[in-house]
Point group: C2
Chain length 307, copies 2
C-alpha cells in the first residue's frame, strides 16, 4: 500500500493548561503520515527550511515514511503558535510564520504520480488542484480545508472540490462552505454538489466535532461516531490530521471503497486521533505500535456496541 | 406495565427563532408521561392550579395517563418562560413563577406505592427523597436534577442519590455535582459513589449533551450515543423529559434491567426526544403513534450500524 500526502511541515509552539512545547515537530504532513504509517508506506510531499535537522528526516524514515518528497528550501521552516483554553475546544493562534511554505509549489516526483491514494492537507485550494491534476489514476482523494480558504478563495475551492472524493472539515466550516446554518441541511447541500461522473465533487463529507466525535454524510445516508473518551487530554494539536491518517490508512488496505469501509475507517481515524491528543504534539504517535491500535479499536467497538 | 412519575406540570411561554407559544402545556410530567405512555400506563403525581382546564385532564386520559394523582390546588399553575438562541443550545429563562408548585408535597395514593418503576422529575431533592421513602418495593428509580439543587441543596441531593438507580443530567451538572472539570473523571466519580448494596447510589449515569447525544457511564463501562439528526429543530423544550419517558418506558417492559437493555432504552429515549423537538412544546408528542416510533428506531439503528 502506498499513500501520497501533500501538506505542511511545521514547528509548533503550543500552550495548553497541561503541557507546553516550543518548536515541536508538526504540520499536517507530520500528523497524517505518522498516523497513516501503521497501515501503509507514506510518501509526503512538502517543504522544510534550513533549520530542519537530519534527525527529523530519520524519524520519518524510521516510521515507514519516505522523506524523498520533502524539499529543503532556503529560509526557515513554517512555524505556528497556538494556545488552548482549559476546555481545549477553543484554540487561539498566537502567530503563523509561513516562511518557506509561502512559495510552496508541489511538484510530484514522476514515481509519485501513480500512487493510488492521496491526502491533501489544508492549504491553498489552487495548490490542491494542481496536485490532483498531476495524478495519473487516483483511486481515492481525501482533502481538508479551513475557513481561511472558504472566505478568501471560495471559487477556487469549489473547483478543487470537483476532484475530491471525501472532504474532512469541522462544523463551522461546513456551515460556512454551504452558506447554511442548519448543519444537516449544510451537509446535504455539500454532498449534493456531486455530479454523477467518476469525480464530481465530495460524495462523502466528514464533519469533525472534536470531543463530540464526527458525522459522516453521503448522498443517501448519515452516520455518527462519538470520540473515544479519554481520562486525560493534553494537546489537541494535529488530531484532525491524525484522524485523516487512520482513515485513509485503513482505506488504502481495502478492496472496496464503500460506505461500510468508510465507517470502519472512521473508527480507525478516531482511534489514531485519540492517541494523538494524549501527549504533546506527535509524541504519542511516534511511540505508538499496532498492538495498541488494535487493542483500543476492540475497546472502542465494545463501547459502541448497541443491542 | 405501570410507571409512577412525580414532577411538575407547567404552562410555558416559549420563544425560539422559529416558533413562539404562550401558556403551552408543559412541565416534566407532561413531557415524560406523553413519551412514556407509548410503552406503559403512566401514573403522574403533581399539582396544578385552578386555571388548569378540564381539556388537559382529558388529553392525559386519552394518552394512557391516569390523571387521578394530579391535585388541583388554590392558585395558579406553575408557569415558566424561556427564550432560545438561533443555535438552540442556549436557553435564557425569562421568568419562573412556581405558584401552586411552591407548596407541592407529593403524597402517593396508597395504590401508587407498589408501582415498580419511578421517575423523579427535576425538583427539590428532599421531595424526591420523600417519594422514594413512600415506595414499597421499587424495581427502578430514575431521577433528574439541575444546577439549582446542586448549588443550594447539595447535602440533601447526595442523600437522595443513595436511593436512585439511574441519574440523568447534562454535562455542566455532571461537572458541578462531581466537583471535577474533566467529564470522564467526573462521571467516574459519580458512579463510584454507589455502594455495593441494593440501592447505594446511581450505578448508572446518563449525561445529556443536546444535539451531540448522550454518554452513559456505569462502574465498568461507558457508552456513547449520538442524537437523531433532524432537518428541522423547532423547540428543544422538554427534550430531556421526553428522553427519560422513552428510556423508562422501554425499560418497564423488559425482564432484565441490564446494561444491554439500558443501551437499547437510550435509543428509544433519543427517538422520543427527537420527535419532541420537531414542534412547539409537546405538540408532536401528542400526535405521535407507535408506528412512527418504530420506523424512526429502525432508521436510527441503520445510521448507527458500524461495520
Amino acid at each position: 500500500m502506498k499513500i501520497l500526502a501533500v501538506g505542511s511541515i511545521a514547528f509548533d509552539t503550543i500552550k495548553t493548561p497541561f503541557v507546553r512545547g516550543k518548536n515541536v515537530l508538526g504540520g499536517s504532513l507530520t500528523y497524517f503520515s505518522l498516523a497513516a504509517s501503521h497501515f501503509a508506506k507514506i510518501y509526503p510531499v512538502g517543504v522544510v527550511g534550513h533549520d530542519f535537522k537530519p534527525k527529523y528526516f530519520k524519524l520519518y524514515q524510521k516510521h515507514n515514511i519516505d522523506s524523498r518528497g520533502l524539499t529543503k528550501a532556503t529560509g526557515k521552516t513554517f512555524s505556528w503558535s497556538g494556545q488552548y483554553d482549559y476546555d481545549l475546544n477553543n484554540r487561539r493562534t498566537i502567530y503563523t510564520h509561513l516562511n518557506v511554505f509561502t512559495n510552496f509549489n508541489p511538484v510530484l516526483p514522476p514515481a509519485y504520480k501513480s500512487i493510488p491514494y492521496l491526502f491533501l492537507g489544508n492549504m491553498d485550494p489552487q495548490l490542491q488542484l494542481s496536485v490532483c491534476h498531476q495524478m495519473t489514476n487516483p483511486r481515492l482523494i481525501v482533502a481538508d480545508t479551513m475557513n481561511y480558504w472558504i472566505e478568501r478563495k471560495r471559487k477556487e475551492l469549489l473547483t478543487t472540490l470537483k476532484l475530491i472524493d471525501i472532504l474532512i472539515i469541522n462544523e463551522a466550516e461546513t456551515r460556512q462552505l454551504a452558506k447554511e446554518h442548519n448543519l444537516y441541511k449544510a451537509a446535504r447541500k455539500i454532498v449534493s454538489w456531486t455530479e454523477p461522473t467518476r469525480r464530481g465533487g465530495p460524495a462523502t463529507l466528514i464533519i469533525k466535532r472534536g470531543e463530540y466525535g464526527l458525522l459522516m454524510f453521503t448522498r443517501k445516508n448519515w452516520f455518527s461516531l462519538p470520540a473515544f473518551i479519554l481520562e486525560d487530554i493534553f494537546d489537541p494539536t494535529g488530531a484532525g490530521d491524525a484522524f485523516a491518517g487512520g482513515f485513509v490508512g485503513f482505506l488504502s488496505r481495502q478492496k472496496y471503497l464503500n460506505e461500510k469501509n468508510f465507517r470502519k475507517a472512521a473508527i480507525y481515524g478516531t482511534i489514531l486521533a485519540s492517541f494523538c491528543v494524549e501527549q504533546l504534539g506527535p509524541k504519542k504517535l511516534i511511540k505508538l505500535n499496532r498492538r495498541q491500535i488494535q487493542e483500543r479499536f476492540k475497546k472502542f467497538k465494545k463501547f459502541l456496541a448497541l443491542i
